[in-house]
Amino acid sequence: MERKPKQIFIQGAISSSKIADSIQKHSSKTDIGAHSIFLGQVRTDEKPEGIIQAIEYTTYEEMALQKAFEIREDIFAKYPLTCLHIYHSLGVVKTGEICLFVFTSSKNRKAATEACNEMVERIKNELPVWGKEIIDEKKSLWKENS
């Protein structure tokens, strides 16, 4: 089966019910023994310019989907995974809301946890996505990944 780039972007915050649905769907895959999940949550941050209220995400979508696909293929080649899912928000996500959801599943826990960590690192470093930190209607800052 040839795998193709698939949509990873969700408009707005990622809901906890979306995460629950995603977990629930895996109950039919009884060869899975371990799931590892990473969630990025928009954090209140105090900057000299003011307090962050939300982040607005934009992307170069065609390139991001192609890159996400390549990373996914690399990770599948490197680790014995059963499943790997990525979701990233676009548009405005308020503090306390989820903006990134990475979900790996495998027979044994080592592959799932290592793959999940590596996936998150690569997403932060390699996906053409930009976050604008919104302080109020007039003020904003461009987020920098550390």
Binding site: G40, Y57, T58, T59, Y60, E62, M63, Q66, K67, H88, C99, L100, V120, I123, K124, N125, E126, L127, P128, V129, W130, G131, K132, W142, K143, E144, N145
Partner: protein, 80 residues
Amino acid sequence: MELKGIKILAFGMIAEKINASEFYLKEVSNTNELLSSLNSLYPQLKEMKFTISVNRRIVNNNEPLNADSEVALLPPFSGG
């Protein structure tokens, strides 16, 4: 290419600085020429960090461009 030139996409703080997310540049046949052209057109980009992609691939060396090239100016990524 004769009419409009090469299409350039701009993202994030680059798009904000030049106040455009898409524009066209004529008479650039490679990415080095593109950079010179950008520097004179948009001097505000000089102190900004960004990479260039051609056809959705990041390029690090001088890369030839043609009418069909999809060029993008990418400030540092900050997803997640």
